[in-house]
């Protein structure tokens, strides 16, 4: 898609997305108790995650050079990204294999709309709002009490790194979506996504040196949480973030290509 068609199509796609999200909200509101329960449970889940650090630091003094406050910032940033992925992407990934198996994908493909766009974002899940907001509160709390001290440059690099982070998560997500089209029997792609996040739950500094350099250079695990958290707490080299941006573009294009070939090879069972 070139730029002209993009600028023409964007408003329509935005409207469609809003309509979809509205519908998602209507649907979630239908079971209001569940809605509240889910958010509550997630806030608790978040808190238990915090207690984990209490346990950690009852035994440890620091983790690979990260002090307690820095670890808390790390956790807040991790949960921000993790919960955003749960809110926007995860329900769509979860719905994907169902969509392929039930053949509903057939009818989606006959619509004049970017299938990638539609299938990536059409559903929202509100449960993780609990974690999302709690992590924002934690982050603000850390900043307000002066436990993290942010300069303008660091903040700028932080948002740059965060942007890379989102791009990588999305590329990985799109990659899994494409696999779900190819392999019909593979449900729970979502679990793979979790495995991926397992590596991001702790600073990459805990790994041996060669793994760490791998995670910065080729497999961008470090850019998911470690680099944004570092940017916010102790600062990073601008060149690192620029490298991350470059990698992010490469990954996005690769995932997009993979997705397109998957759609092209779709055989549409049944009927």
């Amino acid at each position: 898609m070139n730029f002209r068609t993009f600028s023409l199509e964007f408003p329509r796609h935005a409207r469609i997305l809003i309509q979809f999200w509205k519908t998602s909200l209507v649907q979630a509101m239908e079971y209001r108790v569940n809605f509240m329960l889910g958010i509550g449970a997630n806030a608790i889940d978040f808190t238990i995650g915090l207690v984990q650090y209490g346990f950690f630091f009852s035994v440890a003094n620091s983790i690979a050079g990260w002090q307690k406050d820095q670890m808390l910032a790390f956790y807040a940033i991790f949960m921000t990204i993790f919960s955003l992925h749960f809110i926007v992407l995860f329900p769509n990934l979860e719905a994907m294999s169902q969509l392929v198996n039930s053949g509903a994908l057939d009818l989606v493909l006959t619509k004049p709309i970017s299938v990638q766009f539609l299938l990536s974002f059409r559903k929202l899940s509100f449960d993780e709002m609990g974690s999302f907001f709690t992590s924002q509160v934690l982050l603000l709390g850390l900043w307000a009490t002066g436990r993290i001290d942010v300069s303008a440059q660091n903040l700028f690099l932080f948002f740059g790194a965060l942007f890379c982070s989102f791009s990588f998560v999305y590329s990985f997500f799109l990659f899994l979506m494409a696999i779900a089209i190819r392999i019909e029997k593979l449900q729970n792609m979502a679990e793979l996504m979790w495995s991926f996040f397992t590596f991001c739950r702790y600073p990459v500094d805990v790994f041996p040196r060669w793994v760490r350099s791998l995670f910065i250079s080729l497999i961008p695990i470090a850019f998911i949480t470690t680099i944004p958290a570092k940017a916010l707490t102790v600062g990073v080299e601008p060149s690192t973030v620029i490298w991350g941006g470059f990698l992010a573009v490469v990954f996005l294009f690769a995932a997009r290509f993979f997705w397109k070939t998957a759609i092209a090879s779709y055989t549409s069972a049944g009927g």
Binding site: E9, R12, R15, I16, Q19, F20, T23, V26, Q27, E30, S102, G103, A104, D106, L107, L109, T110, K111, P112, I113, A264, Y266, T267, S268, G270, G271
Partner: protein, 326 residues
Amino acid sequence: METSSSIVTRNLCRTFEVRRKSEGFLASLKGIFWPRSNFVRAVSGLDMEIQTGELVGFLGPNGAGKTTTLKMLSGLIFPTSGSISVLGFQPFQRDYEYLGRISLVMGQKQNLWWDLPPIETLAIHREIYNISQAEFRARLDELVEMLEIVDCLDIQARKLSLGQRMRCELAVALLHRPQILFLDEPTIGLDILMQKRVRAFLLNYHERFRPTILLTSHYMEDVIALVQRVIVINRGLKIYDGTLNELSKAARLEKILTVTFQSIPEGFSPLAFGKLIFQEGPRFQVKIPREKAAETASNLYSTGKVLDLTLEEAPIEEVLGELFAS
């Protein structure tokens, strides 16, 4: 415009690769590492041409390749070889302009959002096809009236009956007024009355908006009621393309002669001129070769004892059965 071709395919082929499943423990373990596959030719060398505004029936036994053809025409899957042109587009390029002008309805798959009332799905389709609010209201009112679904719009789709759901599906599919409509077994699973209503709707809709419609169905009533022209395929090959009436001629089937006598003439034996289907007192039904039909009828009349005599074409099911078997 009226006579131009909407759909043209040339030498259209589609092959599927199918993994073979093995029975037994060891074989199934082995199958994980060394999968074996077969190739299935779903469509082979299909040529067809459909004019704008035509309503064409697409017939064939199970597994003939009808759905596969419709999927290729609507851009869902790539053809293995051959060319397709629909409204001047190549469907598998999935041009938005093209997709905005067609619609695919599949009896076994659904557009409706399962947990939501149809009105929500319709609202989403309004955005997808960029229909203005006023236009949306007008079209919706029209469709709702034609399909008689006023009271279904606000009920969760999962709670609708099959017939209600199918009609809502049609409303969703027709909202953007497609120029081309692919209908894959739209009446499957419906009771006879509901089938009739859907048929009546389709005829009515076609009358009003003149879209090009390609329809598959295993119910012959659908075919007889709706289409003038049929294309018959079997095992991916086209075996007939023409009007429904000509179909039985093409199959060279026997005609069916039913005769009722006042009193059975001396020495009359139905076996003398054909195969007996049934006898009931003075009433006989016989299958006779079509070239002998006229002669036989006049011979019977000449006995002077005939109360009633009819000559009919064999029922369409039988014609098709004969075609598929050959």
